[in-house]
């Protein structure tokens, strides 16, 4: 004889609470970063101003909260101003690649056939290529530059977005509501944009956020390798590369941009995960 008594499984509620706390924190981080990106130049109009008489000042000295770097630039101001290039470029990258992915991915997933085949092969190829390497080779050979890298990344980031969009469309297309729409004679664009797209929007938003985090890291990496923003500009990747050299004189020069990159990328990733979870909850019921 066995007597079984079953107990309540705990945990779900708690993890939900943790998740919402994390999401709130992430939103706060992103909000601060966006404010810095938009108003950074207004708050600190001469963040990139070099003061050769005041190089490598330690944190806290003479109004420099985090000290100055080897060019006498105020690290705090520089870091705040760096939010602009850290957020804007990746945003353009992700918007561009997502737009490309939505236009091509919906068509490929819905129409199938040769378009799908060609796009599929091209995106397989691009998808497999290491983004940093390709950007290094192409950007490096053409002399780099921030916007050139952004353009390269748009192309390189498109395949992963395209896959997501295509897979979503592919999954929705055989659903009866799409067939019903076909039977009712709706146009292809109407079916794609009014019927299918709203149903994969959660996928799209999740992918957008996660790739956005990826783009932030990728651009920072390339700046770190010296193929990115133009010299003298405020940028976290560049600051990291420069800051490493004076790591011992003023650790803030490397810690500040490091913390910023980490926090922003984490926050965007948290938002992506949160959106995914939200979509899942919605899907479940």
């Amino acid at each position: 004889m066995t007597v079984t008594s079953l107990l309540r499984t705990p945990g779900l509620a708690r993890s939900r609470r943790r998740a919402s706390f994390l999401t709130a924190a992430a939103l706060a981080v992103v909000a601060v970063a966006v404010i810095a990106a938009v108003f950074g130049r207004l708050i600190f109009p001469d963040a990139t101003h070099q003061d050769l008489l005041e190089t490598l000042a330690p944190p806290g000295s003479d109004g420099h909260v985090l000290g100055t770097d080897s060019l006498g630039r105020d690290i705090l101001q520089l870091t705040v101003a760096g939010a602009g290039s850290a957020l804007l470029g990746p945003l353009v990258v992700e918007c561009g690649s997502m737009l490309l992915a939505i236009v091509l991915g919906t068509l490929a997933g819905y129409k199938r056939g040769p378009i799908d085949f060609v796009l599929g092969r091209v995106s397989d190829l691009l998808f497999a290529l290491p983004v940093v390497l390709v950007a290094l080779v192409v950007g490096g050979i053409f002399g780099g530059g921030y916007w050139m890298l952004v353009a390269i990344f748009i192309v390189l980031f498109a395949p992963s977005d395209l896959r997501v969009v295509r897979a979503g469309v592919l999954e929705q297309t055989p659903r009866a509501y799409v067939e019903a729409a076909k039977l009712l004679g709706y146009s292809t664009w109407r079916i794609l944009f009014r019927h299918i797209l709203p149903n994969i929007r959660n996928l799209v938003v999740t992918e957008f956020l996660l790739s956005y985090a990826g783009a932030i890291l990728a651009l920072a990496s390339l700046s770190y390798l010296g193929i990115g923003v133009s010299p003298g500009a405020a940028d976290w990747g560049r600051q990291l590369a420069d800051g490493r050299e004076i790591m011992f004189s003023n650790p803030a020069a490397v810690v500040a941009p490091m913390v910023c990159v980490l926090l922003v990328a984490c926050a965007v990733n948290v938002l992506g995960d949160a959106w995914e979870a939200r979509a899942e909850r919605e899907f479940r019921g």
Partner: protein, 523 residues
Amino acid sequence: LTGCSSPRSTSSSTGSSADLTDTGKSISDVTVSINGAPSSLYPGIAAGILDYDVASLSAEGLVQIGDDGQVEPAVASSWTQPDQQTIVFELNPHAKFQTGAAVTPADVIASIDAAKDPNVSPATASYLGAVDSATQTGDDEVTVKLSSAQPDYLANFSAASALWIYPASYWQSHSKDVGSATALPVGTGPYKITKYVPDSEIDYALTNTWWGETGAKAVTPHAKKITISIITDESARVLAAKSGKTDIALQVPIAQTAEWNALKDFRIEHAADLSYTGFYFQQSVKPFDDPKVREAIGYAFDYQGVVDKLLKGQGKVATAIATPQSVASVYPSAASAAKALDLSPFDFDMKKAKAALKASSVPDGFTTELVYPSDYPQLGQAALALAQNLKTIGITLNVKEEPVDQWFGTLSDGTHGLNYMLYFSTTGDVTDTSGYLLGDQNPGGYKNSEVQSLVASASSSADEKTRVSDILTANKLAIAQDHADIPLWWGESSTAFENGIGIKDFGPYLLTRPWGANIFAAK
């Protein structure tokens, strides 16, 4: 147009081997770290500054450059120049390879042939382009014929320039892999290469075959072993020093000096690197065709500030194109050289800059671009500093970084009026830099028949005094009168030493000679 220049003080170095005493003790092992990987142990293949530093530990040329910039005997104990197209070298009878074999004329001839062959020595062959032939003319005698009259060609036969002497058999058996790990070169220097792990380390052991230990100016090496450790990352190199894995760090970059200065066991020594940095103008590009505009730029540059703060002492404010080292034979003391070279009217004075601009064709300013090579961030920083100053008088200067090769492309593309000139003189000869910048083929298209004839006569003259005075006159005309060039600074390189290590006769040319022999244990 001439202005009075105020004397500018020069920066001081952090410490010096000259102040240390040699304990005479031998050192078992010295680790020298370098921040780049030589592509080969033979500099003829890629002639970066580190390639020279590394190669000269164990290999020598026929001659070498002494502390004062004069050509000294090395493997050749003496030479004569019967005419301007012939040089006859007498080999040093004590010169031996590290294998113990004596250096024969055949070895020297094979080395010269390899050095002027662009296939074997693509990076340095051009230096010996004028060599027609090298033949044995006696037991210990090699005669070199030049294709044209070359009054000042001797230095090219040094390891500071284009010649490293290896055995003839080495050249024969390693036509394809000269200088690689599978073909360790054998030279005539005091240190023999025992191990080469590319990108990682090079080990040297002291031999007793070196001619320099004997003879008149005998030097006794103290280090039994030298290890060159390749650490391409600067902060890793500092970490290595902190954990005691480095005794000497060559070519410390400017950005790193503060880090090294912060290490209490290390000191930094500076030595001129014979480089000249300045602005020159594409004379045909507007508005730089106007001398007043060029003058305004000249006054807007913060010479002392840049040298002190940006270069961290790795340089001296330049007052001429010719470097103090290149005139050392005529003006041996620092003070006399400074006086003779005081040819630039410019100092940092924004009032004068503004006045010059007001008097120019573009009184309200203009917008232009200055490109700098990415390998030299200090040029970019100096450019940004200049841009800040120019902004106050209405000139917008956009600073752009380009890889070195693309930078070359912009120098004479007809759109960039204001350009950087960064020139490393390998020989330190007085006509070298000025000849390039002021001669017929000068990159800026600067035309002043008086200047160009002075340069030509200096190049063909054999008398050192005339050569120097011609060049200095040309310098003065070009800088003070025509503002065709604006000298910014003469470069210096920094070397970090552990405090227990000293090096004798540290100067601009030491690292092109077998410098391992000069290392000593200090108190």
